[in-house]
Amino acid sequence: MPLRLTILRFDSLASTNTEAARQAAGGAPEGLCVVAREQTAGRGRQQRVWVSPADAGLYFSIVLRPRLEMKEWPLLTLMAAIAVADALREACGLEVDIKWPNDIHAGGRKLCGILAETVENPPRGRACIIGIGINLTARAFPPELSEVATSIEKLTGSKPDVEALLGALLRAIERRYARWQAAGGGAESRREWSRRSSYAEGKRVRVALGEEFFEGTTRGLAGDGALRVETNDGKIRIVRAGDVTALRPVEGMNGN
């Protein structure tokens, strides 16, 4: 069944994810989207701040209620990254890289972050909220991040048409979500992710898991989207959390 998309638009919100979670708690069906021109308390993982000045980024969240078992859900965050890559290609002509599991990079710098959360509200059941923040212009991030962040404007030389980008994003999410839930959808999502990400195979990475660090070479995805990393002593470690960074700077990803 296709998603029935409904968009709630706000001039200003604390956080689109918080608003979407509130809507989900009130029983909002899947397909409900929240878009804000600015966020006053935009957040990333573990309550990190996502700077969100007015009209400098696309600040978007969607409520999903997957039919699949919850242990399959982590692939949703990889699916969301593929959908963003689709939309950036369609609306802006950009080719991007996906840094495991779901950061969108271009030219080695971060262009988009995804914050996915699940919330449970008995008796409505569990909902997944996927928040997507795309930097439209350099105003979207503080100057001190200019070495690690980028924007569509910086990459293409012009400020993107935000409505065209939003439209492309909605179509891409609809398509990728339907495929993920179809038979064999998990394997297809993993294949597609691996095709789009330079992190999937043979990349030298450093993994930070809390206090622990190790280095290795990536060896594809496990069934649930975890990253398989071969350590220097030949063992395979399955990474489901923590930060994975490239050991050498990524270059030329725009031209692949």
Partner: protein
């Protein structure tokens, strides 16, 4: 539970490795595993059995006071003799008896266990916290998907089986709740 928490804090702050307290209604045994040495209880003493999990640095709290463990002494010394704890249970049955009376909140997913919404914020719950079915007890992260886990029962948190930031398996017990 409040007293128990104070006890654990004193235990930790004074760097103790082993501590026992017993009265009519409750028996507490705190032990910290500093080194992998087997600390065998002296045979003459009635020492509670340790659960054989591998919890590292923080003190392990074992409370073996059978049915009367829900409260600290309230009724005075005339507590019902039927509820006084059996002091010399073999380890296995003691552990089983303990888990049987607690409701375990388990992980619905493979991932990493977080007790608080961010590294600098307060834990969602602590030992002694009262929970209701819709109380958020922790977050399990997998592939940057942050899953809020609910208590799904009413009671008081007695055990936290997993340390913050540790990986958990599907179905693994996270908390023990006294209902």
């Amino acid at each position: 539970m409040e007293e128990l928490r104070e006890l654990v804090e004193l235990f930790t702050s004074h760097g103790l490795t082993d501590f026992e307290l017993e009265n009519e209604t409750i028996r507490v045994h705190l032990r910290r595993n500093l080194a992998p040495q087997a600390s065998v209880a002296p045979s003459g003493l009635a020492v509670s059995a340790m659960p054989s999990n591998q919890a590292p640095a923080p003190p392990v709290v074992t409370n073996t006071a059978g049915a009367a463990q829900s409260g600290m002494p309230q009724g005075g010394p005339e507590a019902n003799p039927a509820t006084t704890p059996a002091t010399t249970k073999p380890e296995a049955s003691s552990v089983r008896a303990r888990t049987e009376e607690l409701y375990d909140i388990t992980s619905p997913i493979v991932g990493t266990f977080y007790r608080s919404p961010s590294p600098t914020s307060e834990p969602f719950i602590r030992p002694g916290s009262a929970v209701e079915p819709d109380t958020v007890v922790c977050i399990i992260e997998a592939m940057k998907l942050m899953n809020e886990i609910l208590a799904e029962t009413t009671g008081v948190v007695e055990k936290i089986y997993v340390e913050d930031g540790q990986p958990v398996e599907y179905g693994q017990p996270l908390f023990g709740v006294k209902r």
